[in-house]
């Protein structure tokens, strides 16, 4: 079953997430329905002299309980989240373990930063405690491909397996890569997404030094917004060739109909309007979709001064008159900014919105910035007939990736 352009159609058959508002995809979605905020005072590590005291921490996560694989338990916290989310998604999709056509499956799980807490522990051991050696697993825990390798081992995946790395667009790029592999016939099934666990003292200091974090909270598009809030977790999808999914009688959750990516090629921190505009346009063109057909847009919406205005302007350029009628929200208002993993969780959010006919809100939006003048679904979610959704991811360095999802094929 192919599109007019001869490419195979790609559907979503499994979802998995670990976020500050839920230890699986359903719990995360229920928390969004309740407008729950996962940002709070940091509890998982000692704040020392940090002046940013808040983050979106994953609470109550115990690898011994939440990660079934003993090998993954030996990994970094970011691999734990990936292992947990992948297990949820793989089980959800009902795929066999080990996978029966191992070379026809891909496992692309990225991370913006890899095993950050492992790096920090090792450096403290070496430079402060003057220990004679680091833990022998240090290197394997740090590398940004360890989550994909771990998950690939768990499910017997022998096709393309690696991690993507594009800061806050990492998960979206991973999903785009697997989408391209499947539609071009390289594989039939793929695990795609990202995981991030950078809530450590040292990492917080590096973000603090950039002066982009809010000491108060993540308030996208709001007049009071004063920076983003770091969070951790994972978001993973199972993508599959439509025919392959139908043959095995899988439940199809959504169709991935479009993907666009671009680079601003301008500045490491100041976003340009042209990059996001072109990525959104490419995703629509790839989907063969008129902008007016999109019912919901999950914005990148980081709550920095620059992003939210720039994204609003880019949306207006792409959607024209439809921009004011388009329901847009930033679920980072609830989850915080999961960095590389954000696009994975937000893709899941788009799919859930389509399935349940409900659009999640941007919470904490009491008074919008006058320069952000679109419908950001303030504070309260709403019922809506959602057929097509768009998920935006824009990253430091000006790296943009956009996905468009549609209903499961009839």
């Amino acid at each position: 079953m192919t599109k007019a352009n001869g490419l195979r159609r790609v559907v979503v058959t499994g979802l998995g997430a670990v976020t500050p508002i839920g230890l699986d995809a359903n719990e995360t979605w229920s928390a969004m329905k309740a407008g729950k905020c996962g940002v709070g005072r940091i509890e998982n590590f000692d704040l020392e002299d940090l002046y940013i005291h808040i983050a979106g921490e994953v609470k109550g996560f115990d690898p011994a309980t939440h990660v079934s694989s003993r090998k993954v338990q030996y990994g970094d916290r970011y691999s734990w989240f990936a292992g947990r989310a992948a297990e949820e998604a793989w089980t959800h999709a009902g795929l066999p373990t080990p996978y029966d056509e191992p070379y026809r499956a891909a496992c692309i799980i990225g991370s913006g930063a890899g095993g950050h807490s492992t790096i920090e522990t090792a450096y403290r051991d070496l430079f402060i405690k003057k220990k004679k050696a680091t833990n022998p697993l240090t290197l394997l825990r740090i590398i940004g491909s360890s989550a994909s390798a771990h998950v690939g081992i768990e499910y017997g995946i022998k096709g393309p397996t690696f991690g993507t790395c594009s800061a806050c667009s990492t998960a979206t790029h991973a999903i785009g890569v697997v989408y391209d592999y499947i539609r071009n016939g390289l594989v039939d099934v793929g695990v795609a997404g990202a995981s991030e666990a950078v809530l450590t003292y040292g990492s917080m200091r590096t973000w603090q030094a950039m002066r982009v974090l809010s000491p108060e909270g993540c308030f996208p598009f709001s007049k009071k917004r004063n920076g983003t809030v770091l969070a951790e977790g994972a978001g993973i999808l199972i993508l599959e060739d439509l025919e392959h999914a139908q043959k095995r009688g899988a439940t199809i959750l959504a169709e991935l109909v479009g993907y666009g990516m671009s680079s601003d090629s301008k500045d490491m921190v100041n976003p340009d309007v042209e990059g996001p505009r072109s990525a959104m346009q490419m995703a629509l063109d790839d989907a063969g979709l008129e902008p007016s057909k999109v019912n919901y847009l999950n914005a990148h919406g980081t709550a920095t001064a620059l992003n939210d205005v720039n994204e609003t302007n880019a949306i207006k350029m792409v959607f024209g008159d439809h921009a004011k009628d388009l329901a847009i929200s930033s679920t980072k208002s609830m989850t915080g900014h999961l960095l590389g993993a954000g696009g994975g969780v937000e893709a899941i959010t788009c799919i859930k919105a389509t399935q349940e006919g409900w659009i999640p809100p941007t919470i904490g939006l009491d008074e919008p910035d006058p320069k952000c003048d679109l419908d950001y679904v303030p504070n309260v979610g709403r019922d809506a007939d959602v057929k097509y959704t768009m998920s935006n991811s824009f990253a430091f360095g000006g790296l943009n990736a956009v996905l468009v999802f549609g209903l499961p094929p009839a």
């Binding site: 002046y51 030094a209 950039m210 002066r211 809010s214 000491p215 920076g227 001064a305």
Partner: protein
């Protein structure tokens, strides 16, 4: 100009693409074509030079960063207060 002001102007010049020689205390920072990341670098350099912490958030417009003179005043106040944790309650 006193020592603090001279040091701060030297730091500003170091981070400007085309350093100007006519920087006065009344010069607005916006005249120095400094971008957000440059400003974070400048604040870091000033903190390092004077052993202070300056509360600064790139997402907010701050009075202390209007002119060269206002930066100098703020730094002097922080140095006088010996407030090494100036940003702690920002």
């Amino acid at each position: 100009m006193d020592e603090v002001a001279t040091k701060i102007i030297d730091i500003l010049k170091k981070h400007m693409k085309e350093p100007k020689d006519d920087i006065e205390l009344s010069t607005p920072l916006t005249d120095l074509s400094i971008e957000s990341l440059d400003l974070a670098m400048i604040v870091f350099d000033i903190e390092d030079t004077f052993g202070i912490e300056i509360p600064y958030n790139a997402n907010e417009e701050v009075e202390d960063f209007k002119t060269v003179g206002s930066v100098v005043e703020r730094v002097k106040a922080l140095v006088d207060a010996g407030d090494a944790a100036g940003a702690a309650n920002a």
